[in-house]
Amino acid sequence: MKIAVCIKRAADMETRFKIAANGMSVDETGVKFDIADFDGFAVEAALQLKEREGAGDVTVISMGPDTVQETLRKALSMGADKAVQLKTDAVPADALAIARVLADELEGGGYDLMLFGRMAIDAANQSVGPMTAELLGVPCVSAASQLTIANGRGTARRELEGAADVLEFPLPAVVTIDEGIARPRLPSLKGIMAAKKKPLEVKPAQVGESRVKVTKMELPPERTGGRIVGEGPAAVPELVRLLQTEAKVL
């Protein structure tokens, strides 16, 4: 089975963010980057499918400047077989523009399964995967938390609000992966050594017009500090009064 996983390089979400001087992006100084969270789950899902089948080929694809090579190399050290960088100066805000570049690469690649993270943890559009499926004219399942493949058909389980559903679909298909699937493995030392020798192909990519643009980015308002009203049962009347009159939640 031939699997492609489209991954994005994104800031480590533990980072304390600052807005860049232009007011439209994150200040990248001192920020650590890694495979975007859900994309890591997608890589893990692909590797497990390959291991279960005992055969197959996992290609990781990322779009962006040369910094994404580090991200691709990490996926290779986890166990992916080859990597493709779709070289662009930047990743546009327009999900459709991204999907077009990815669909061009995936088209004719002979992939049985094309995996994405449920969403990029930084942009949170949740749309590049489904749009790519649409452009390729293949079925799309979003936010799968379990995925099995048998006899050319896939089965995916999705966690819904208070329920779950199970979907079946023919291959080739696009599936976006939710975190329930399995924790992404850490690269082993041997994996890191092996990754140095795996192919990483750099292909120049043309990004079409981005019709969606970021005009502003801001941090959430700072939380105001809590207040200690008093201690013990004696403080309860005052607390109730404040909840009624000040917070107006009672």
Partner: protein
């Protein structure tokens, strides 16, 4: 009597467990699956990376000149999840070792924040700061202020470009030995459940073979301690350590000079001082360094730093700003008389902080670390060329260190730190002054010293600070700012002594800046996930051992 009902004084050494040498020194050959390397650097700090870069270059130059060495594989194993995340320093850096390693680069290319524009030394009281003339040992003209995290990330890029295999997130658990010879290393496993059994995502240890293993573990390296004990390598005096606790602040009022202070909030009989360094115009590093031979059982370095920030001099720079990072680290400050008798063995070298190359009077270690790494690389290169990596073949490393500014600087200030154990801040200060004037000739000889663990702890009376969450912080808030996100169900990597009495539990809880130890009634409660690998208790109490890769702090600009 103390509030906990135990009489003081207490001597921490009485409750310190033995160093588990058999965990660190394993007489097994590397397994059949071992990753073959020629040289392994244990630790991706300034020493390990400088050594790896120099060695990779020497090997390449040899290959280009048609030499006999051939392709050699060099690995750097770093326990942090990414380079620099476990590195912490002031830091005012002497650029001499950067220049030695990169002779073609101008200073402006080095990963420093800014040149030292001026410096001031103050003697502090609770309300005032009296400016002192800068002691000659503390002059920093021509040096640079920077973040060791940034320096190490930069060195990592250079190492990678030079063809070095960088493995981050791989702590070394053991040296693999055959007879007297180190033949490789074994990493820690990861994914263990709390009870030590393999959990989900378990990765077994990996062995690496090495013709030479370079210990570049940093302060209180566990393998270095074990190796020295195993091979009977001692030092004239016991090593001494200090604990530094540091915060990085984003500030609104720029600081234009390097500031060092003596005196308050430290008690008079405690060795130490504090610093304020400008990192560009918008950031200030503030920290305090305290010798771990302090006699007060309740002294708490983290709290002393919180108290320091309440002083008008310090407060004026920080107020209205934001604390963005917090961290702690021990500093080897035993100096010349505490250096290991030899820093080489069969298939092994010791470098940097692990070997004790820190000069405490000038508060410097980074350039000694890098320089020792460079010397290690040169000695290894010659040994590999001769196909002989025995102790005798690696011994020239020690000679290079002895003939260099590393030993010269440490020898000149050989008794300065020790004078303070003998005379406190005033008596010690006067003696240190004479030592400086006489370039170490006064009083000559060797002042003896007591190991930190053997110092009895008595008087209480250290004042507590109520953290306000703006200028002052609790240990819990502080650990959060270290970026520590170690999973809670990791097995404990700390070896705690048996039957720890409440007074000793209190001592640990004050000593540990990260809130790992707490006393609950008569019981000592340990929260290993809080640990930021500062190694303070390893010096006088519970032992530190390497744990799963990527655990602990995630410093970005410390």
């Amino acid at each position: 009597m103390t509030p906990s009902g135990r009489p003081l004084p207490i001597v921490p050494g009485q409750y310190q467990p033995a160093l588990p040498i058999d965990r660190f020194i394993v007489a097994e050959p590397p397994d059949a699956e071992a990753v073959p390397m020629d040289v392994v650097f244990v630790g991706g700090g300034p020493a390990g990376l400088a050594g790896a870069i120099e060695l990779a270059r020497l090997a390449r130059a040899d290959a280009e000149a048609g030499g006999s060495l051939g392709d050699i594989q060099i690995a750097v194993l770093e326990k942090a999840g990414a380079l620099g995340e476990h590195c912490l320093s002031g830091a005012v850096v002497n650029p001499v070792a950067f220049r030695a390693l990169f002779p073609d680069l101008p200073d402006s290319e080095f990963p420093f924040r800014s040149k030292v524009a001026g410096e001031r030394v103050y003697f502090m009281t609770g309300s005032h700061a009296f400016r002192l003339p800068t002691p000659p040992t503390m002059r920093n003209h021509g040096n640079y202020v920077g973040s060791i995290c940034e320096m190490v990330r930069w060195l990592g890029e250079k190492a990678e470009a030079a063809g070095v295999n960088l493995f981050t997130g791989f702590p070394v658990a053991s040296l693999l030995v055959a007879g007297d010879r180190v033949v490789g290393v074994r990493t820690t496993p990861s994914g263990l459940a709390r009870d030590g059994t393999p959990g989900p995502g378990y990765t077994p240890p990996t062995d690496l073979t090495a013709r030479v293993t370079v210990l570049a573990e940093g302060t209180r390296g566990a393998l270095t301690q074990a190796y020295c004990r195993w091979r009977g390598i001692g030092s004239p005096n016991p090593p001494l350590f200090a604990l530094g606790v540091k915060e990085l602040w984003e500030t609104t009022r720029p600081l234009d000079t390097v500031v060092h202070t003596l005196g308050w909030p430290l008690p008079n009989d405690v060795f130490g001082g504090s610093f304020l360094y400008p990192l560009g115009s918008k950031q200030v590093a503030v920290g305090i360094v305290v010798g771990l031979d302090y006699p007060q059982a309740a002294l708490d370095v983290h709290e002393l730093l919180q108290r320091l920030k309440l002083h008008p001099l310090v407060r004026s720079y920080l107020e209205g700003g934001e604390m963005v990072e917090w961290g702690a680290k021990t500093i080897p400050e035993g100096g010349y008389w505490a250096l290991p008798d030899r820093r080489y063995g069969d298939g092994l070298l010791m470098t940097g902080d692990a070997a004790g190359f820190v000069e405490v009077a000038s508060l410097k270690g980074i350039h000694y670390a890098m320089q020792s790494g460079i010397f290690a690389a040169r000695a290894i290169f010659d040994a590999l060329k001769k196909q002989d990596t025995s102790a005798a073949a690696l011994a020239p490393y020690d000679q290079m260190v002895k003939d260099s500014y590393i030993t010269r600087d440490l020898y000149e200030r050989r008794n300065m730190r020790l004078a303070f154990q003998h005379g406190g801040i005033y008596g010690g200060g006067v003696k240190a002054g004479f030592m400086t004037l006489t370039r170490g000739a006064f009083p000559g000889g060797r002042l003896t010293s007591e190991a930190d663990a053997d110092v009895a702890r008595t008087a209480d009376g250290v004042m507590r600070v109520q953290p306000d969450g703006k200028l002052t912080f609790s240990k819990l808030d502080a650990v959060f700012r270290s970026g520590n996100a170690t999973r809670d169900d990791i097995p404990s990597h700390l070896i705690v002594g048996q039957d720890i009495p409440p007074a000793m539990a209190d001592f640990y809880s004050h000593l540990c800046p990260a809130g790992v130890y707490e006393r609950d009634g008569v019981r000592l409660v340990v929260s290993p996930a809080n640990c930021v690998d500062c190694k303070a208790t390893d010096d006088v109490g519970p032992r530190w051992t390497p744990r799963e890769g990527g655990s602990g702090a995630k410093y970005r600009s410390m």
